[in-house]
Amino acid sequence: MVQQQTPPTGQRDLDGNPVPDAPDLSWMDKTLGWGIKARVEPFGGGMTIDALNVGVYAEVPDHIPFRNRLPRGAYPAPGAGSIGGYYLQDKHEQWAECAGRLYEEGISRRWSTATDVPWDTAYDLPGDVELAICQVATELSQHASVETEVVSGWLQNLSPGYHEVKLYLSTATYDAARMFEGYRKRAMLNGGGMMLESPGGMNRTIMETYAGWSQTVLGMWFVRNALDTTILRYLAVHGPSEADRVLAARLIPDRMRMAAYAVDHIRFAISKKPELVIGFQVWLGGVEFAQARDLRDPVLTEALAIIFGGSVAGMDEGMKVVRRMLQDFVKMYLSRCKQANLDRSKSLSGAFQGMLSGMAPPPRPQA
């Protein structure tokens, strides 16, 4: 297979290196496994990324010794060197078995806020409800914006050897961007626009996660995502217009894929390194504190109460729905923890216990 090298004829490149007459074909034998054929899924799923994990390429190692862009299973070049970044080289730091499937699902469920939301149904709502929607939209949009920054910033640290994770996180960033622009569009639709920025405690907690990607996942997709998903579920039912209900309902599957990755990843990490549980528990205690502190600020809950109650006059009724919503949020969060073998039921913070009991949000501040 290797073509005989012919001696250089005197031709040189700009660096002065001799240019051979015939190309070096030694690369034609450089493969770790030849004759592999991936199969298209028989029931319409097409050629999926997981279908490529066959033969020698099915092995996903526990550690990637390279800090460059070697595609997993490619023939390594001994002098390739390091590219910098990619310092998360261990499988337990990022892996989730479902990542490849989530990636393909994310692509197959693609949609557009421009054309898939019946925006014309959201005109001429009562002014207080419209402003309340704009406030909620501002906060959800900001949550998503922070999420895009965080996930995209981590990509350069995650080893390409676990490409399924990187692929899924690319779709997750894209999904978060869609939530950002979907709620910006909603806020601008009737001119209400972006209102008061979010309190920022959870944004800070998620961004300042230098302990590792797993900790980021816990804050961003166990806690914050559970809150956002619960809000979306309630908006999908109680949203004041069809556009509001459709937008929220469309976003829920995107959010759920993030949760699925998060739970699967943390469960995998704990299965490989049980000692991580203690640190994760401590970290989640801090995250719960930050989330509860943000929720003590009344802006988001007041806005939701107006939406759910139908007006400022209906806020007391609306606040009852908000309390049920926060109860559901904590239940969802605890469920995720339990599925990941990270039981929080006995160490839940007081504020979260309050929400779980239906007592929260905390007492109203005096006007």
């Binding site: 034609m28 991936a38 390091s82 895009t148 001119g191 300042e208």
Partner: protein, 374 residues
């Protein structure tokens, strides 16, 4: 298409509502309409729906030349004095990242998403001669490797950019999505027809390391969007000539559609910078000096048509139809035409970006002229 804002009319109403709420113990100090309140936007389903480029009005449409947004708030949102300064953004100067059509490029990307799983007719692939299959797989391995660059590096810069410039951020996010799909589709190609992955690029410099190293967004964008992706786009556009089945043709056609947006981003950003921050033109020319050296001497990497690399040899085999000397010779001639096309397209892009004076004043690499005139 906005109707008149009606905020004046609402102010009194909202003050009354606020008072009513406060009597019941709610704070409601946030319940104040902004000046644009009541200005409806036509969602215009016939013209593509509610598009990002059409939504911002008033203060939300004011893109600051310099951003003091350190809390990550959405552009135009009201500030909270107690919000944490979490936004340690290095890009807070508009000219450093801006372009005029980022929203349009983002919306176009959303509309043109495709699936490597089902939109490529994998069933059209039939067994190929062994040398052709190995060449396909080597090229696919190379492209899989370099597509990581084009996703991971923009990701870093998104997190470095203030959300006041959300439009270019949104485009870069769509690029991450596109590049994930490219990485995925070329990996799929390597396994779809009885082959496998082949050799990694021999060193990181040849797989785009210089793009990672850039300390400035425009420097990075010139290396990635103008050079790297521009070169790859020229190859993808020649896909018809090196494809052996409809699946490969579809891959190159779909990937070229994505790459053309990425290149457009780079060109339009350079154009904006050249127009608004002309004192940086000399600096940008110095980046282009390096890029041109890469074009003619292959020092920049990311170019499968670069001489002396496995991917170049693979291209010659695919274009010539075999690995015998005559086929490689023929393929090499066609590959040379590819390189000429790469150079011509590069020259055109730089002219559109407003930096074409380098081709008139002798600044451009002299070897380029030979390619252009060939």
């Amino acid at each position: 298409m906005a109707t008149e804002a009606k905020s004046e009319k609402y102010i009194t109403t909202f003050q009354q509502l606020m008072e009513e709420g406060r009597k019941n113990g709610y704070r409601l100090d946030w319940l104040l309409p902004r000046e644009t309140f009541g200005a409806q936007i036509n969602s215009n389903a016939e013209a593509g729906g509610l598009l990002l480029q059409d939504i911002d009005r008033g203060p939300f449409a004011q893109i600051p030349d310099w951003s003091d947004n350190m809390t990550g708030r959405p552009r135009g949102a009201t500030t909270r004095p107690n919000a944490a300064r979490i936004g340690n953004y290095s890009i807070r100067t508009k000219a450093d990242i801006w372009l005029k059509n980022a929203s349009q490029l983002y919306e176009e990307a959303v509309q043109r998403q495709w699936s490597s799983a089902v939109d490529v007719p994998w069933e059209t692939m039939e067994e190929l001669p062994d040398d052709i299959e190995r060449a396909e797989c080597q090229l696919a391995t190379f492209l899989t490797e370099v597509e990581f660059v084009a996703g991971d590096v923009p990701g870093k810069w998104i997190s470095e950019t203030t959300p006041d410039y959300y439009e270019p951020r949104m485009f870069l996010i769509s690029q991450i999505m596109d590049e994930a799909r490219h990485m995925d589709v070329f990996r799929k190609r390597a396994f779809a027809n009885g082959g496998g992955l082949m050799s990694q690029t021999t060193n990181v410099a040849l797989s785009g390391g210089a793009i990672d190293s850039a300390r400035d967004f425009t420097e990075m964008s010139a290396r990635l969007h103008i050079s790297g992706e521009g070169l790859v786009l020229s190859i993808f556009r020649m896909g018809e000539r090196m494809s052996y089945n409809d699946a490969e043709k579809a891959i190159y056609r779909l990937a070229a559609s994505d790459e053309s947006r990425h290149v457009a981003f780079g060109v339009m950003h350079l154009q904006y910078l050249a127009q608004t921050d002309p004192q940086r033109k000399e600096e940008i020319h110095s980046y282009l000096d390096e890029i041109e050296l890469g074009l003619v001497a292959g020092t920049g990497g990311q170019n499968p048509a670069q001489r002396g690399t496995p991917s170049n040899a693979a291209l010659a085999i695919l274009l010539g139809g075999g690995s015998d000397a005559a086929s490689i010779e023929e393929g090499g001639q066609i590959a040379l035409a590819v390189r000429q096309r790469q150079v011509k397209e590069y020259v055109q892009r730089i002219k559109v970006a407003g930096l074409g004076d380098r081709f008139e004043n002798g600044r451009a690499n002299a070897t380029l002229a030979a390619y252009v005139s060939a």
